[in-house]
């Protein structure tokens, strides 16, 4: 009955069919982004194109010709989406993975330090949270430092970390990974402190009446309660970790990695290369966060917490 009365009013809106699922809205948003990108590309690249025409003495260029030219410059202010896609295609599919020109190779470099840093950061964050939850002294003494550590711009501290570690003989993957760690331990520590403290008083009282030890209360109560918090903070931590890895590649003049790609691109004004590296970083972050999302779903389902 409700269906019958609802349907006619629904069909009055021509967009209702398009916007009802998820495919419709997602497509609309993607199309909107791409068209805004194209409009911006034309607008931003036109002044340089005009200059070119003037210098070349060309006066009667048609609008279509001009549009085509602005969207196919070698070093545009803002490359058009298709230029970036072509560049990504060229540097991933058409290059062997071992080649220095392969974007897959550079992504792999960044990915490895992201993952290593994330792993160390998550472990560190969890350990800090456990300490903070169980010891008032640690809570009072560590928490202010943890928070203030994140107020320092990472761009300022990244070169210091690299220089200091180099001085003591640590180089290669680890210094970059430690910058990822620096960024990713924070959300995990804060989220886990919140999670480990989230059991209700009634549950803690129950543990008390069972005469459970702190260790038992931790394994059987606090940790399971903290799992959803852990996954949420791991998603943030993973994204921060990727940022850390890229930033870690910038100040050292690294020759490999997405950060190095960005740096090289900006040295030589290779805007298409910069944007393709940026897009690749975005894809990578999206994929990594989605992966944690899948792990979260599987874990919660296994634990019986997903209804």
């Amino acid at each position: 009955m409700t269906d019958a009365t609802l349907n006619p009013s629904r069909s009055l809106n021509p967009f209702s069919g398009l916007m009802s699922g998820t495919v419709g809205p997602v497509t609309v948003v993607v199309l909107a982004i791409i068209s805004i990108w194209y409009i911006a590309a034309v607008a931003l690249n036109t002044p340089f194109q005009r200059d070119l025409y003037e210098r070349g003495g060309l006066t009667d260029v048609t609008l279509t010709q001009m549009m085509t030219d602005t969207l196919s410059q070698d070093r545009p202010v803002l490359p058009a989406p298709h230029q970036v896609i072509v560049e990504i295609w060229d540097t991933t599919v058409n290059k062997s993975i071992t080649s220095k020109r392969s974007l897959v190779y550079h992504t792999g470099i960044t990915l490895s330090s992201t993952l290593l840093g994330f792993l160390i950061g998550t472990t560190l964050g969890i350990l800090l949270a456990i300490g903070i939850v169980h010891s008032r002294v640690l809570d009072k003494s560590m928490m202010p430092w943890i928070i203030s550590s994140q107020t320092i711009p990472i761009l300022a501290i990244a070169p210091m970390i690299i220089v200091v570690l180099n001085a003591v003989g640590i180089s290669g993957l680890l210094p970059k990974a430690l910058i990822s760690t620096y960024l990713s331990f924070f959300p995990v520590a804060v989220g886990m402190v919140k999670g480990l403290r989230s059991p209700e008083v009634i549950h803690m009282d129950l543990m008390h009446t069972y005469s459970a030890t702190r260790l038992q209360a931790f394994w059987k109560l606090r940790l399971p309660y903290a799992v959803p918090f852990l996954f949420t903070s791991m998603k943030i931590g993973m994204a921060a970790s990727l940022v850390g890895a890229i930033v870690g590649e910038l100040p050292t003049g690294a020759v490999a990695g997405l950060g190095a790609r960005l740096l090289a691109g900006s040295y030589y004004g290779q805007t298409v290369q910069i944007w393709s590296a940026l897009l690749m970083a975005a894809f990578l972050a999206g994929a990594l966060v989605a992966l944690i999302g899948v792990l979260e779903k599987l874990t919660l389902k296994r634990m019986g917490m997903a209804q």
Partner: protein, 279 residues
Amino acid sequence: MNAIASAKDTEMVAMTQSASPNRVIDIEKLSLTFETNDGPVHALADIDLKIEEGDFVSFIGPSGCGKTTLLRVIADLERPTAGSISVNGVSPEEARLNRAYGYVFQAAALYPWRTIAKNVALPLEIMGLSRAEQQERITRNMELVNLTGFEKKYPWQLSGGMQQRASIARALAVEPDLLLMDEPFGALDEIVRDHLNEQLLQLWAKTNKTVVFVTHSIPEAVFLSTKIVVLCPRPGRIYDVIESDLPRDRRLDIRETPEFLKIAHRVREGLKAGHSYED
């Protein structure tokens, strides 16, 4: 023949002796004062109370009379500031370490990530019992609360009444000397509550546990208890202790008998008198 008869007699004597009530809880001049920013709050003052083995004792009183606090003191969840309390002849803390308590809260407090059987197993895991022993206790206690067949269900798949029954099974699985219940049916509707009250009495008859039960329902207190403790607030103190002479084997329709109504009347009078200085 004579020898057998006298042997029987001595057995009878021995039985009556062992059946003679043992004191489980002995509270003397107990007080508990919380220090707050607005000055001291006298949660409990001058409590004297004896509870014998096999008793079903109800604490009844208005909100803030300290009935839950008194139960928490017995369970070693709060420490008294004056007076003495012994459980099974030792301090509440020692009794707790001996796992003398099964505590049932107002909310079922089941762990959402554990099945019902695993929830019942929780205290058993903490006690370090063997798998076989755990399984045996789970089966037995789930049967006691009529939840056989729901072992693999998660808490959210059960009704409120069933969840509370599961939490009672969890408390009983510890095989405690004392079953402490803090308004366990307070959040349930009256029909379910009546039903669970009857089940609880049967359970009590079967297990012969000592039960301390907090409630603010007069019919519930009178229906369940052998001893009703009426408390009044500010400071929390005992106003009246009523020994019920109702038979131990009770059905819900006992609530219409004059004997029942007489006790209920005395409880109501006690609650009124304890409250009389208030508006």
